[in-house]
């Protein structure tokens, strides 16, 4: 009573947060209990029907996995469903009453403890998000199932159902059967319980191939004599690598089911004369396969998350750098540049009043003009403001007008695209031109920029010495990073002695620095 009150408080909060308004809380709870009991009993009967589970021992005891998943995902308050399911599943005629009751208590405690421990130990997100969480989930399932095995074996011993000499092997079989049940079904439930999958035709075809490969290789593995069980692993790895959590948990189930099926039909590498040995070998195979695939898929997920974060922080850094350049450019423009320009105006006004000092004023003004030009080029290199006002085509015209090497504008975009894309394209062109002039000793340069479909294409070709390389810290490497962060493609062809061609395609119409 105390427990249900405590757990009831928890479900009130859950109810207010979610769909409690549609279905009354009590009804929803009873519905959940019914589903749990149904799944519990159903999964037990699958075991009975395919003869991999009996009243005492099982190769894999599925109800444990079902119940842990349900209590972990749905809430510990559904524990009575485990009791009801267990009462319906247990054969009370086969065991002394006290032993049967002890087993049921052990089964309940096992499930509640495992589900509680997963909730407690996996603090953030899903148990399949990171390797640490996966490890804690495995520990939780191992500890919970060890409790059931211990309670069960002790009760069997106390009820004189088994002899002392068998304690070790029965405990091991019990524990591995329950542990495998949890290890197969809990990740499956965690991976699949939210129905938001979308597979396009190609992925669906590949997924089908994975399943075919797992089934086919399992058939080969379990039909030939000798230890060929490991040949299934490449297919399992394929599923885990390419289809993340859902793929991994699914191929684990399929692989386990086929291993059990064959062992029960006395074929394959685990079909020994001793049933105990067969069961142990199959259990170990399933546990090892499941653990390996889970580790693999979690590592893949971690790697993808890290790659994503890395990409985001790179975009963030570029964006910050870009903002900083704009700030510096604006400060230069608004400050020193305007003052020098104003000074020039005053100088010219003064010169008119002092015809005697005309030569001095002239020289002062030409010095001033040089300073203004240098400052303007500096500011322009930092951030080209002409882009914002007049667009890429005119900005490229200004580059052409300033170029010290003959520069031909083969094609210019007739339409404006979003500012960030124009800025990226502008940097590509100015950097490529500066390379062509500085390093490649080009005698001519051709620039082409065109909006084709939804993309801005930029080409810069020169007749220089070629042999340009994307070394770390080189301008080309920096350009590639800029372009790829903007979601574009970057290609350099630079055969030695035959000029350089930089080809860039940028998706336009969206902000590339959005992160």
């Amino acid at each position: 009573v105390v427990t249900s009150q405590v757990l009831g408080a928890e479900s009130v909060a859950a109810e207010e947060a979610s769909f409690g308004r549609a279905v009354p809380r009590r009804l929803r709870y009873l519905l959940g209990l019914g589903i749990l009991v149904g799944l519990y009993v159903g999964s037990a009967h699958i075991g009975f029907a395919f003869q991999f589970a009996g009243p005492v021992a099982a190769i894999v005891w599925l109800p444990v996995g079902v119940a842990i998943s349900f209590l972990y995902l749905g809430g510990l308050q559904f524990w009575p469903g485990v009791v009801i399911g267990d009462l319906l599943v247990n054969d009370y005629s086969a065991l002394p009453f006290g032993v049967a009751v002890a087993q049921s208590v052990g089964n309940l405690l096992e499930v509640v403890l495992a589900a509680y421990l997963i909730r407690r130990l996996v603090r953030h997100g899903s148990p399949l998000d990171r390797i640490e969480s996966l490890a804690w989930m495995v520990v939780a399932i191992a500890v919970g199932t060890a409790l059931s095995a211990s309670v069960g074996v002790v009760s069997l011993l106390a009820g004189d159902v088994i002899e002392t000499g068998l304690v070790g092997s029965i405990w091991r079989t019990w524990w591995l059967g329950d542990f495998s049940g949890g290890l197969i079904l809990v990740p499956l439930a965690v991976a699949w319980w939210r129905p938001d999958f979308h597979l396009d035709r190609r992925r669906l075809a590949e997924g089908t191939l994975v399943v075919v490969a797992v089934v086919g290789l399992s058939e080969v593995a379990f039909r030939v004599h000798g230890s060929a069980a490991y040949i299934v692993f490449p297919a399992l790895i394929w599923g885990a690598l390419r289809f993340s959590q859902r793929g991994a948990t699914l191929v684990i189930v399929i692989g386990a089911a086929l291993a059990i099926w064959h062992t029960r039909h006395h074929s394959g590498p685990f079909a020994y004369h001793s049933i105990t040995s067969s069961i142990l070998a199959t259990q170990l195979y399933i546990a090892v396969a499941a653990l390996s695939m889970l580790c693999l898929t979690v590592l893949v997920a971690e790697r993808e998350e890290i790659a994503q974060r890395l990409g985001a922080s790179r975009a963030q850094a570029l964006r910050a750098a870009e903002l900083e350049r704009r700030r510096i450019e604006r400060n230069l423009h608004d400050g020193a540049q305007q003052r020098l320009l104003a000074l020039g105006v005053h100088l010219r006004l003064s010169a008119e009043h002092a015809p005697d000092a005309a030569k001095l004023f002239e020289s002062a003004e030409s010095q001033l003009q040089l300073a203004i030009d240098e400052l303007r080029d500096l500011a322009h290199g930092i951030h080209p403001t002409v882009l914002k006002d007049l667009g890429l085509a005119d900005a490229l015209r200004t580059i052409a007008a300033r170029s010290t090497v003959p520069l031909e504008l083969v094609e210019l975009p007739a339409v404006r695209v979003d500012h960030e894309t124009e800025v990226t394209a502008y940097y590509v062109v100015s950097e490529a031109i500066s390379n062509a002039v500085k390093y490649a000793r080009a005698s001519w340069i051709r620039v082409r920029a065109a909006v084709v479909g939804g993309a801005l294409e930029v080409d810069v070709v020169d007749d220089g010495i070629g042999g340009a390389r994307e070394n770390l810290g080189s301008g080309l490497r920096g350009l590639r990073e800029r372009v790829e962060t903007a979601g574009g493609t970057f290609e350099v062809q630079s055969p030695v002695g035959a000029g350089t061609h930089v080809a860039v395609t940028l998706p336009s119409g969206r902000a590339p620095f959005a992160g």
Binding site: D334, R339, A342, V345, R348, E352, T385, V386, D389, R397
Partner: protein, 126 residues
């Protein structure tokens, strides 16, 4: 038709204090010009162009807000004959601005009494 002796009414707009002051001095220094306003943004220039009825507007291109290019468009929408001289610190920009008789560009580096007077002589009308 205005009498020829009447001075050319000039409005100037620049968001930079130092350069605005320099521009004002240039305008003051041309005898046939009279300064009718000095403002610090494109929006103010549009308003002032309505109020002060200038013949010529010296307009900085790069200003916060609508900027010189947009201000020029708005001024011309209301007063098509006004000569707008776009002042820019970027000579390249001065090269590429489309000049259509009522809009011309002038590099700030070459702003002087003679340069402004010449722009009026070449393009100004009233």
């Amino acid at each position: 038709v205005t009498a020829p002796s009447e001075p050319v009414r000039v409005l100037v707009a620049d968001d930079n204090e130092a350069f605005l002051e320099a521009t004002v001095r240039v305008v003051d220094g041309v005898s046939e010009f009279v300064l009718v306003g000095a403002v610090r943004s494109g929006e103010e220039a549009v308003e002032e162009a309505d109020a002060a009825a200038p013949d010529m507007v010296l307009l900085d291109v790069r200003m916060a807000g609508i900027g010189g290019l947009e201000a020029a468009r708005r001024i011309h929408a209301r007063r098509p004959g006004v000569l707008v001289v776009l002042l820019t610190a970027d000579s390249a920009l001065a090269d590429v601005v489309e000049t259509d008789g009522v809009t011309v560009a002038l590099d700030k580096r070459s702003l002087s009494r003679a340069a402004v007077a010449e722009q009026w002589r070449l393009h100004g009308r009233r």
